[in-house]
């Protein structure tokens, strides 16, 4: 991995030198093709199969090759794509979706309700990335009607329908991910694993014809992407805040707002051992400490320091989403934070670090090794909390140990998805009686989220999701239990070649990869 990175850098640097030597290697000759770079982690490891993570899973985006029943709009509400209408029965257990009758797969076969039912049943049985346990069975009633029978009501089903690409039943086997056939805007022409994927516009697409005929995606690290842009070899090159000061001739920096947030978990229970694993933390089990920490984080300063200003303050895992409760906003107030600590009995010791009943106010804050942004956020958080009198030690860890250790220590996480299920995954308790990722439990929060899943329609569900965050008395925000502290949303940055108009983006979710090309069909060259 590292070696590949080094080789990539060497190649890229030499490419940059060649350019400086006076060669003008301009990649883009035709006006209807683009070359886009993405991080190497964006390359789908299991191929372009929706059941194994293409478009779904941790990094949500439109599947391009396949089409979905519905899709999310720029304000993250739902609009029809393949579907012409959909409805849910009163008990929430049956979703009925009518689909278009004029859609063909790129091999000429028509797309019918049978294919839709096959896709969902296949995902239910095999999906390695998404939870489909709420789906009992998908049934094709006739050619254009499909019914989803649910095990439990699931009001946010449309958000699932927005990410599952429909695959053809007649052309689906274990190698589908490497030879995907779909009905989407693009056809996958060529995939050189570890290097690039080339897409060409689908001439028979049922919607508006794509303006960009050919999309080439190159997988490389940020430093190599920068070198590629400097050498003029990419039209859109992903980049990081650290590189944002670079001026590349012929390119402009594009900044896309995101819900790609970073936050830290604070274990909410007393230290204890469960099944040989340490749970809980003596400092952060005190709710006043957690509130004080939330108040003592100066998010604006952090964004300036770490992200060169390319970010927005985050107060929840779902800022700007339709289910976001604005009560989460907490202004920086160090004095109030200190007052809270004093009130809770944490008094300053000789070295400026607070103590209570012989417990020193210290915390280990972990970040994933090699992620410079998370490391910088951890360091800045440590600096800011030192002013509050908390001694924070940072530590780089690998993901092999991070999940277990997060049960008793704080960890810098990255989240942000186009579905409220993320709230559920972070705050809802599991069978153990505690939330899965960081020990926390609140019955009221649980029951609001359970109700939200059983709600009759999305609007009603949004309200319940908001109440799960803060209902006026309890919740997960500053005045509630505040089990997680959210720091910032990281803008996704790209160097875009002059003359290329990148269409308006929806708020990007976590993941700096495929989201940018969600609407590549609408991009235009001057």
């Amino acid at each position: 991995m590292k070696l590949r990175k080094i080789m990539g850098l060497l190649c890229a640097v030499s490419a940059a030198f060649i350019l400086m030597a006076g060669t003008t290697a301009l990649a883009n000759a035709e006006d209807n093709s683009v070359i886009v770079t993405m991080p190497t982690t964006s390359e789908p490891a299991s191929g372009f199969d929706p059941a194994y993570g293409w478009g779904a899973g941790e990094h949500v985006h439109e599947p391009l090759i396949q089409s979905t029943l519905v899709r999310t709009t720029t304000d993250l509400s739902i609009e029809n794509d393949l579907a012409t209408e959909y409805s849910c029965s009163g008990d929430g257990l049956t979703w009925t979706v009518k689909i278009r009758d004029d859609v063909k797969f790129t091999d000429g076969e028509p797309l019918t309700a049978e294919d839709v039912a096959f896709t969902y049943n296949n995902c239910r049985d095999n999906s390695s990335v998404n939870d489909f346990t709420m789906l009992k069975e998908a049934v094709a009633v006739d050619d254009t009607t499909v019914e989803f029978h649910m095990n439990t009501p699931y009001s946010i089903w449309p958000y699932t329908m927005a990410i599952v690409g429909i695959v053809p039943e007649h052309a689906y086997d274990e190698n589908y991910g490497w030879n995907p056939i779909g009905s989407g805007r693009y056809i996958m022409k060529q995939w050189d694993q570890g290097q690039q994927v080339i897409f060409e516009a689908n001439p028979d697409y049922y919607g508006e014809a794509p303006k960009i005929q050919k999309v080439t995606v190159l997988f490389m690290e940020e430093d190599a992407a920068l070198a590629a842009a400097m050498a003029g070899q990419a039209d859109v090159a992903h980049t990081a805040a650290a590189y944002s000061e670079m001026n590349i001739e012929g390119y402009d920096l594009l900044r896309v707002e995101t819900v790609d947030n970073r936050g830290i978990n604070l274990p909410c229970i007393e230290p204890q051992e469960i099944d040989g694993v340490a749970y809980g933390n003596a400092l952060t089990c005190d709710v006043n400490v957690r509130r004080a920490i939330n108040l003592a984080i100066d998010r604006e300063e952090m964004i300036t320091n770490v992200l060169n200003g390319y970010g927005t303050a985050a107060y929840s895992v779902c800022d700007k989403m339709p289910w976001y409760n604005e009560e989460a906003v907490t202004e920086y107030d160090l004095d109030e934070a200190k007052r809270l600590m004093e009130e809770a009995g944490w008094t300053e010791g000789a070295d400026g670090i607070r103590e209570k009943d012989g417990v020193r106010a210290e915390l280990t804050l972990m970040f994933s090794n090699g992620d410079s942004v998370r490391q910088a956020l951890a360091e800045d958080t440590a600096n800011q909390l030192r002013e509050l009198g908390i001694d924070v030690k940072t530590e780089g860890v690998g993901w092999d140990t991070a999940y277990t250790r997060a049960q008793s220590d704080a960890l810098v996480w990255g989240w942000g998805a186009h579905t409220p299920m993320e709230l559920y995954n972070i705050y809802h308790t599991t069978d153990s009686g505690l939330a899965e990722l960081s020990p926390y439990a609140n019955e009221a929060v649980d029951s609001y989220m359970d109700e939200a899943l059983q709600a009759g329609d999305l609007e009603e569900a949004y309200e319940l999701w908001k109440k799960a965050q803060w209902d006026g008395e309890t919740g997960i925000t500053q005045n509630g239990d505040i089990p997680w502290i959210w720091l910032c949303n990281i803008d996704h940055l790209y160097f875009v070649r002059d003359g290329l108009t990148v269409a308006d983006q929806k708020i990007h979710p976590h993941g700096h990869g495929w989201s940018i090309v969600n609407n590549v069909d609408e991009w235009e060259w001057e």
């Binding site: 800045d380 940072t394 780089g396």
Partner: protein, 273 residues
């Protein structure tokens, strides 16, 4: 004043020892300062206040380099000592305790030497959970082979020498012969071998940390510093790699020169050279 070779060697040895000890001590002293992050001074080019510049977290690269080198030196010395003791014991055992023991130990030596060094290091370090422990065990377990082989050959030769044969005839025990008659003879070889193992150990420690299998990334280790600097080289932040790199090379070279100087001082054949 014109110095002869022995005097030159002595000066070189003293200089190397002073420099390396200085770096090791300075690094330990500024360990805390090396961990300080201050975003108000990030990405500064080298200046009088920060002779080695600062990085993207506003850490002072001079302190980081010193601390990193001192960690490397301490890890290297520690691992090399363990390794050398292993080499000494196994080398003597191979030569003294008969054919079967010799066959087993020689086989192990050949086996370990047959596997590429860095690969074995990575495997051992990873298996031991990386970090300080993993690196020390990894370096210690991989570096003893060539010295062990040298000592074995030396002991083999010694066994045929007359004073040892006489000692045997006089009925002294194998153990006594090994400790009393052979060890003093081996000591100079051993010390030189030990010192010359340091640069290897240091380079290997920084290599596996550079590759991400050693110390974790918040540590000011020289491998971490160099691997981080890769990302910023393309932006023209040359000082992040240049000074730590030069210092690493200097350290390794001085260990090597110092070791060779020590050898010529200890070697009776060079007294009149």
């Amino acid at each position: 004043m014109k110095l002869n070779q022995r005097q030159k060697a002595r000066v070189l040895l003293v200089f190397s020892v002073l420099f390396l000890a200085g770096v090791a001590v300075a690094g330990v002293l500024c360990h805390d300062a090396a961990m300080v992050t201050d975003f108000s001074r990030k990405n500064l080019t080298p200046c009088l206040t920060y002779p080695f510049g600062t990085d993207w977290l506003g850490r002072d690269m001079l302190y980081r380099t010193l601390t990193g080198l001192s960690m490397s030196i301490l890890i290297g010395v520690c691992a090399a000592c363990v390794s050398a003791v292993m080499a000494l014991l196994l080398g003597i055992a191979a030569a003294v305790f008969g054919k079967k023991v010799d066959a087993v130990i020689s086989f192990v030596i050949d086996g370990i030497m047959g596997i590429p060094h860095i690969l074995l290091l990575i495997l051992i370090s990873y298996a031991c959970g990386k970090g300080l422990k993993g690196v020390i065990i990894g370096v210690a377990l991989t570096h003893w082979t060539s010295l062990a082989r040298l000592i074995r050959a030396e002991v083999m030769q010694l066994r045929q020498s007359e004073y040892i044969l006489i000692a045997e005839k006089l009925g002294q025990s194998k153990w006594k012969i090994a400790v009393k008659h052979m060890l003093p003879h081996l000591l100079p070889q051993f010390l030189v071998g030990l010192v010359l193992m340091f640069p290897h150990a240091i380079l290997h420690e920084s290599s596996i940390t550079f590759l991400g299998f050693g110390l974790s990334s918040e540590q000011p280790a020289i491998g971490v510093i160099l691997s981080e600097s890769m990302t910023y080289l393309i932006m023209g932040k040359w000082w992040l790699a240049l000074f730590p790199g030069i210092m690493l090379v200097l350290t390794v070279v001085l260990f090597d020169l110092g070791g060779n100087a020590l050898r010529s001082l200890l070697d009776p054949n060079s007294v009149h050279a």
